[in-house]
C-alpha cells in the first residue's frame, strides 16, 4: 500500500484548489505515502521544473465493473478488438475502448492522472461480482454506488411512511453489499418498465405501479436517510425521463425536492444531492424536431442553489456503449436504432439496459447533445459541475482530454462546433459563450470539486500535510503556454508522472508499477434496536421477494472485503479506517 521511500517533487507549478494554490512554484514532499512538510536529503527527487503538478484526479461517475459492464463486454467483442495491449512484467494484458477489461481500465485511468474512481451503479444482488472485479482493478482507489431507486424495500417503507426503518435499511444494505453511496436511477421508472417496456415514471408525481409511491417520495426519503446517516457522499441522483426532449422541467422539479434538507455529514461536502450526467437531462423542446438546449436553465439553478452538485456527462463523437440502469431510456434507444440491446431485470431491485451507440457529427440531435455538455460546464461554477462522460455512455474516458481542450480553448471548441451539424450552434447557446477555463478551473472540475463532493477531501485531492500522496505531474506549463490557443491535447492525455500513495505508477505514459488498492465501504451506524427490527423484517420479506437466502445475499466480509478501507460514520462524523489497521484491530 505505502512505500517507505521518500519523494521530493521539486519546483513544480502547483495547483491545489482546496488550499487556494493557483500555479505557485513549490516543492511537494512525500513520505510513507503521505504529503509532509519536508523530507530528508536521501529522498528521491523528481524535477518538475516547468511542469504542472496537481493532485490525482477523481472520477465521480463511470461504469467499470459489475454485471452491466461485463454484460456489455460479453456483447461487444468487436470493441475489445479495436485496441489491445499486451502483457508486460508490470501489467496484465487487455484491450477495449468503450468496455475495456478491468486491468486495462486501471492502467488507462492512471495514465490520465486519475487516482480514484467510483463505479456508478451496482445492483446489490450483483455486488459480489462488482467487488470481485474491483479486487482485480489496479492502481486506483475505488468505491461502489449502490442502487436504491427502485428497491422494493425502499418503496415498502416509504409506502408505510417509516422513515427510520428506511434509514436503517440504507445503512444495512450499504454495509452488507460493500457500497459507498446511495445511487438512484430513474426512481420508480424501472419498476414500471419491468411490467411493460413502454411504461415509465414520466414525472416526479407519477406513481409506481402497485407500490403507489412517487419518484418525489423516493428521492426525498432517500435523501433524508442519507443525511440522517451522514454518509460521506450525498445521494447520487439520475433523474427521471433521461434522454427525452423537454425533460429539463422534470430535472428542475426533482432538484427542488431536496432543497432545504440539511447536510448531516462532516465529510466536507456542502451538497445533499449530486445530480449525475445532467447533459442527458437538460433537453428542451417537445420532440426531436424541436429539440434544443436548456443547459442555461439547469446551470442557473445549480449556480443559485448550494444543495446541488452535478457532473456533466459530455458527449464525444464516436463509438460508445450506452449502459444504464435506466432501462426505459435504453428501450427507447433500441426502438430508434435496432442495435443489439441487452436488458437485465434484477429481482426486487433494479434493471439494466445496454446498447452500442454511435454519436455522429452529422446528426443534429447528437450535435446539440455535444454542445449541451460543454454549455453546462462553461456556465456553471466548476466547484459544482465536474467533467465526466458518464463513461461509456456519452463517450469514452480515454477521450477526456478532448473535453479539456474544448473547455480550455474557445478556438478548439468552435472548430469542433463548426464541423458538427448546424444545430450545435443554432439550438444551443454555445456560440455565445466566451468563457475559457483556466488550468486552475480545470483542476477544480476534475480534482477538487469531485473530491469534495464525494466526501474524500479530508484524505486526498489536495496537498495539505497528511493527505494521501496522489499526484499527477503534467508536461504542461500553464504559466507560460497559452492553453487557449493550443490546449496540448496529447500532453493532457498522458501524465509525465502519476504517483499513487507515494509510489510512481506511471512515468511518461507508461505504467511502471501497478499496486493493488483497496475499496471504500461505508459503514453507517444506526440505533441497534431499529437495525435489528429491520433485519428481522427483511428476513421475512426475503422469503417472498428473493430467490437467494438472506444469509447468502450478504457479502461475506472475509472472502470479498478483506482488503477494503472502511468509512465508519457515527452520528454524522466520518472516520476513515484503512484495512491495515482493521487487521491490527482483529489481532487485538
Amino acid at each position: 500500500m505505502t512505500t517507505e521511500t521518500e519523494l521530493l517533487i521539486k519546483n513544480g507549478i502547483v495547483y491545489d484548489p482546496i488550499n487556494n494554490v493557483d500555479g505557485e512554484v513549490r516543492d511537494i514532499c512525500i513520505r510513507d505515502g503521505k504529503i509532509v512538510d519536508s523530507v530528508s536529503a536521501e529522498a528521491k527527487v523528481i524535477d518538475a521544473t516547468g511542469k504542472a503538478v496537481t493532485p490525482g484526479k477523481v472520477e465521480c461517475h463511470s461504469h467499470m465493473v459489475g454485471i452491466t459492464p461485463t454484460s456489455a463486454r460479453i456483447m461487444r467483442p468487436e470493441d475489445i478488438r479495436t485496441r489491445v495491449s499486451a502483457s508486460t512484467d508490470v501489467r496484465r494484458a487487455g484491450g477495449g475502448r468503450t468496455v475495456p477489461n478491468t486491468w486495462e481500465l486501471g492502467y488507462e485511468y492512471a495514465k490520465l492522472g486519475f487516482t480514484r474512481a467510483y463505479e456508478a451503479a451496482v445492483t446489490p444482488l450483483y455486488s459480489k461480482e462488482a467487488i470481485l472485479e474491483f479486487n482485480q482493478y489496479p492502481i486506483l482507489n475505488k468505491g461502489i454506488f449502490t442502487l436504491f431507486g427502485n428497491n422494493w424495500f425502499v418503496m415498502d417503507y416509504l409506502k408505510s411512511k417509516e422513515q427510520d426503518k428506511l434509514t436503517a435499511f440504507v445503512s444495512f444494505l450499504l454495509k452488507t453489499t460493500g457500497g459507498y453511496a446511495v445511487k438512484l436511477v430513474n426512481p420508480g421508472g424501472n419498476e414500471a418498465y419491468k411490467w411493460n417496456a413502454e411504461w415509465n415514471c414520466h414525472h416526479a408525481d407519477d406513481p409506481v405501479p402497485h407500490f403507489g409511491v412517487t419518484p418525489r417520495e423516493i428521492i426525498k426519503g432517500l435523501c433524508i436517510a442519507n443525511e440522517e446517516l451522514g454518509l460521506p457522499h450525498s445521494i447520487h441522483l439520475h433523474t427521471n425521463m433521461l434522454g427525452v426532449p423537454g425533460n429539463y422541467e422534470v430535472t428542475l422539479d426533482e432538484l427542488n425536492i431536496t432543497k432545504g434538507i440539511a447536510v448531516g455529514s462532516d465529510s466536507g461536502r456542502v451538497q445533499n444531492t449530486h445530480i449525475t450526467h445532467v447533459q442527458f437531462n437538460s433537453f428542451g423542446g417537445d420532440e426531436w424536431r424541436t429539440f434544443n438546449s436548456k443547459a442555461d436553465e439547469i446551470a442557473k439553478y445549480i449556480n443559485q442553489n448550494d444543495h446541488v452538485t452535478a457532473d456533466s456527462g459530455n458527449v464525444i463523437y464516436g463509438d460508445a456503449t450506452t449502459m444504464t440502469a435506466d432501462s426505459p431510456a435504453e428501450w427507447a434507444l433500441y426502438k430508434m436504432t435496432h442495435n443489439k440491446l441487452i436488458s437485465n431485470d434484477t429481482e426486487a431491485e433494479d434493471g439494466v439496459g445496454i446498447i452500442p451507440f454511435l454519436y455522429s457529427k452529422k446528426s443534429p440531435v447528437h450535435s446539440v447533445m455535444w454542445a449541451i455538455g460543454l454549455e453546462l460546464l462553461l456556465l456553471t461554477d466548476p466547484w459544482k459541475m465536474f467533467v465526466t462522460t458518464d463513461h461509456p455512455n456519452g463517450g469514452v474516458f480515454l477521450d477526456y482530454p478532448l473535453i479539456y481542450s474544448w473547455l480550455l480553448s474557445k478556438k478548439t471548441r468552435m472548430e469542433e462546433a463548426e464541423s458538427s451539424h448546424g444545430w450545435a450552434l443554432k439550438r444551443t447557446g454555445l456560440g455565445g459563450i466566451d468563457k475559457e477555463y483556466s488550468f486552475y478551473e480545470l483542476v477544480i472540475a476534475t480534482v477538487a470539486g469531485p473530491a469534495r463532493s464525494l466526501g474524500v477531501a479530508k484524505r486526498e485531492g489536495h496537498f495539505s500535510n497528511g493527505a494521501a500522496a496522489n499526484v499527477a505531474i503534467w508536461d504542461i506549463n500553464p504559466l507560460e503556454d497559452d492553453l487557449s490557443r493550443d490546449p496540448q491535447v496529447d500532453k493532457l492525455a498522458t501524465t509525465a508522472y502519476t504517483i499513487k500513495n507515494g509510489e510512481i505508477v506511471v512515468k511518461d505514459g507508461t505504467v511502471v508499477s501497478a499496486p493493488m488498492t483497496p475499496l471504500d465501504v461505508a459503514h453507517a451506524h444506526v440505533d441497534y434496536e431499529i437495525q435489528r427490527t429491520v433485519e428481522e423484517e427483511l428476513k421475512t420479506k426475503f422469503k417472498r421477494y428473493y430467490t437467494v437466502q438472506f444469509e447468502n445475499y450478504i457479502v461475506d466480509p472475509d472472502l470479498y472485503l478483506a482488503k477494503s478501507d472502511r468509512i465508519d460514520v457515527v452520528s454524522g462524523k466520518v472516520h476513515f479506517i484503512p484495512y491495515a489497521t482493521q487487521t491490527e484491530e482483529a489481532v487485538k
Partner: protein, 438 residues
Amino acid sequence: MIEEKENIVCPFCGCLCDDGVVKVEDNKIVGTRNLCRIGHKKFESAQHGRAESPRIRKNGELVPVTLEEAFDKAAEILVNAERPLFYGWSATCAEATQVGCELTEACRGIIDCTATICHAPSIEAIQDQGAPLSTLGEVMNRADLILYWGCNPMHAHPRHMSRYSVYPRGFFRKRGRKSRTIMVFDPRRTDTAKLADLHVQISPASDHMLVHTFREILNSYDVTHETVAGIPADAIRETMEAMAQHQWCILFFGMGLTQQMGKDRNIDVAIQLMHELNKYIGIRTTLMPMRGHFNVAGANITICSETGYPFAVDFSRGYPRYLPGETSAMDVLYRGEVDAMLNIGANPGTSFSNRALSHMAKIPLINIEPHNQQLLQISDVVFSPAMVGIECEGTAYRMDNVPIKLRKVVEPPENRLPDVVILTEILKRVKELKGKGA
C-alpha cells in the same frame, strides 16, 4: 453428534440452490435436506472415490509424487508448450478462474470454458442480437407465461420449476402454479412436458422454423403452409394468440436449441422474437439460457472481466484475441493445434469428440480433478483438489449470473489443496521459469 449446516449452496447445476441443509458427523457428510436427488448425490459421494493425491505419469504409469514435484512438472509442461490450452473452469470457483486467466497470460496460451460445447451459441447470439434478460426472482415474482424450449429441467435442473419458475408463490403471482401458464416445446414427451399446460411436440431440427413462423405472425403475415415443424398452421396461430394473452413471459432454452442444427442462429431468431414481443404486443418478455454446470456462467463472466472476451481467448501474441471457430477449444483440438493442456473443473472425456480426445491423448495433459474420471487414463500430471463448495469456499454464478458464495461444509482430506492454491503455485513456478529463460 450430527450437525446440521444450513443455507448450503449446492455446487451441481446452474440452479445453484442455496437453501440446502447438509448433515455432518465427524467431518463426514451423512445426509441432506431440501436438495434434489442430484444435489444429494453430489454431497453424499463427494468424499468417496477420490483420486489419489498428486501423481505423475512415469513410464506409462501414474505414480504418486510430492506436491512440489507435481507443481514443477506442471509448470515445466506449460512453459515448454507453444500453444497450451487451459480448459474447463465450470466446476470451480471464480477466484480460481481469475488465477487461471493470469496463468494463461503468463504461458501465452488459450483459455476456454465448457460453454464452448454447451451455451456458447447463446453468447454468440447475444453478440449479434443482444438479449432481454432477467434474474430468476423476476420469474418467480412476475411471470405468468413460462416457455421451456429444448430443455428438460425435471431431469437436468430438478429444482428449477419448484424453486424459481413454476411453483413458488411470487409477489405478484400469489397462487403459484395456478397463476401461470407453462408451455414446453420439445420433440419428446419429457417429464417437464407432462407438467405443462401445452406441449408443442415439434419435429426435430425445426426449432428455427417455428420461431420464425411466430415472428411472421407477429409481423402480420400469415402462415402459408399447412404445417410448419410438424405443427398445423392453425395450432401455431392459436399458440401465438395464447401467448399474447399474458403479461410477463420468459423463455428458458437449453441445449435442445443451442446444439441443434443452426446453433447460434436458433437463439438469434429467438431473441429477435422476444424483442418483437416486447415491441409489438406489450407483453414483457425475457429469456434465459439453462446453464448446466454450477459455475459455467461464472467462467464466462470472470474470463470476460479479466480478458475482455467471454470464452475461447487466445493470448499467443500477448494480448487477448477471440474468434470462436479459430480459438475455441474444440477447434484447436480438432485441428491438432494444441501441444499441452490443463483441464480443470470439467470432464472432456465424456463430451469431446473422439478426434479431439485422440489428440489430447498425444499431448501432455495436466488434470485437476477431485474424482477418478475417464480423463485420468490419458493424463500426465494429476492433482486432486479440495472440492469447491464442499471442502473450500469460492464464488459461483447462477444461470442468471447472480453471484453466490459457496460454503465450506467439511474439511478436505489431507494433501487436497483448493484449486486456487494449486493454480497459484503453478503460476509462481511458471513465472520463475519464464524469468530464467529471459
